[in-house]
């Protein structure tokens, strides 16, 4: 028989008490889609489950004082349709829509996706491109804002200590000139694990045709998703035309080659990167080099 203890705190003070009881063998329960599989298939036997599902304050997307706050317990089904994200953080909505199946998206949460730190977690590059921070609560009732890149530290590894929980993700409302997009490549068109993913955020200059600041995050390449400064420097200050689309694709291929030298999947991923870059480029609304009618 299991000796699993189940705690379902209903507010932050109850959560703090529950977090204080967590050990290295304890787990947080959100949507359950990764955790339950670990318990069934890999024999994971937690000593304590802190079930977050009664904490309504961790659910939903809101804007307050110029900051967008995504509750960690928000499901991908909610995120993909959220009007705030569709307008101000489309790369997250699109990443959410590409996660698993309808069944997975109805249960799985963005907090769980980040906390599980899968190299192919779809929300992670999107959060990186928006320079989001995780709002972390702990057993001492403290709150800390930690950049996503400092939360996800390796494949399946995070900097979260037992007793720390991601409560939300926050980022400033981007200026209307920011455009974002997400795309991924997998082995089938739906319900697929990313073999490669990318999220891009670019700030258009007032002329509407050239790019100011650019952020490019790649996922499912190495152990963790990462921003690539070289690819970003190719875009920054450039035009948003088909020629730049081609340079962007080349830069993405280079980034993948630099990141996983010698990996068996390198040949595939280098070529896939070009197609992925084209998808993201179109997702931003820019002319694709693959279309002869474009500017290039």
């Amino acid at each position: 028989m299991s000796t699993l203890i189940h705690l379902a705190p209903r507010d932050r003070s109850e959560l703090v008490e529950a977090l204080a009881r967590m050990t290295g063998q304890s787990r947080l329960l959100a949507g359950g889609t990764d955790l339950v599989r670990e318990m069934t298939k890999n024999g994971l036997r937690p000593d304590l489950l802190v079930d977050l599902n009664d904490l309504d304050e961790l659910r939903g997307v809101g804007i307050k004082d110029g900051v967008i706050r995504i509750g960690a317990l928000t499901t991908f089904a909610r995120l993909q349709e959220d009007p705030v994200l569709r307008r101000h953080g489309r790369c997250i909505a699109d990443a959410a829509a590409s996660v698993g199946s309808v069944q997975i998206r109805s249960a799985a949460t963005i907090g769980g996706n980040v906390a599980n730190a899968s190299p192919c977690g779809d929300s992670i590059p999107a959060l990186l491109a928006l320079e989001a921070k995780a709002e972390i609560w702990d057993a001492a009732d403290d709150t800390e804002l930690r950049p996503i890149a400092d939360v996800v530290t390796g494949a399946g590894r995070t900097s979260l200590a037992p007793g720390q929980v991601i409560a939300a993700f926050v980022f400033p409302v981007p200026d209307e000139r920011w455009l974002t997009a997400f795309a991924k490549v997998g082995s089938r068109s739906a319900v697929t694990v990313a073999r490669l993913s990318a999220a891009v955020a670019v700030e258009m200059r007032p002329d509407g045709r050239s790019i100011g600041e650019a952020r490019v995050a790649l996922g499912a390449v190495g152990e963790t998703a990462f921003r690539d400064p070289l690819v970003e420097s190719v875009l920054a200050g450039g035009r948003s035309d088909a020629r730049m689309g081609l340079r962007f694709a080349e830069a993405c291929c280079d980034a993948v080659c630099r990141s996983i030298p010698g990996r068996y999947s390198l040949g595939y991923k280098c070529r896939a990167a070009a197609g992925l870059a084209d998808d993201v480029w179109r997702g931003l609304g820019f002319a694709s080099p693959a279309e002869p009618a474009g500017e290039g």
Binding site: A8, G32, M39, G100, Q103
Partner: protein, 171 residues
Amino acid sequence: MRLRFEVNGVPRELDVDPATRLIDVLRRDLGLTGTKEGCGEGECGACTVLVDELPVDSCLMLATQVRGRRVLTVEGLARDGELDELQRQFIAAGAIQCGFCTPGMLMAAKALLLRTPDPSEQQIRAALAGNLCRCTGYTAIVAAVRATAAAGGHVLAPGEASGDAGGGGSR
């Protein structure tokens, strides 16, 4: 731990181990064996049930997660001994061969039609992308969902399911 939830319109209350999955409570404790377990990891969708009208894989959810919520299984589709329009159209279209994927297909399709009464073929295929069928090749399944929509089959909401639909178990 004590678990209270509603299955196919019937309030249920039972003791469960907190590590128990929803599918195990449905099949083993409540005798609702219409819900099938295929892969046990969220790839095949055979275990699909609706929780508050949203489709989920019941093999990837702990039973405790449905506390206070409404669950609809394939047993809850029929009302007063009459099959749901969706079930009738699956039969009419020959959308069933071995039948193992069918309960999951029906529940995923039901969830779609509850939200989108007149879906396009693309919407149907997207809604069923999490359900694998190794027999039929999907054509007849998609046709059955379209025929259900054409027949107005979306109007039967889970809350209207008849009271005895949840009574598969002897306990």
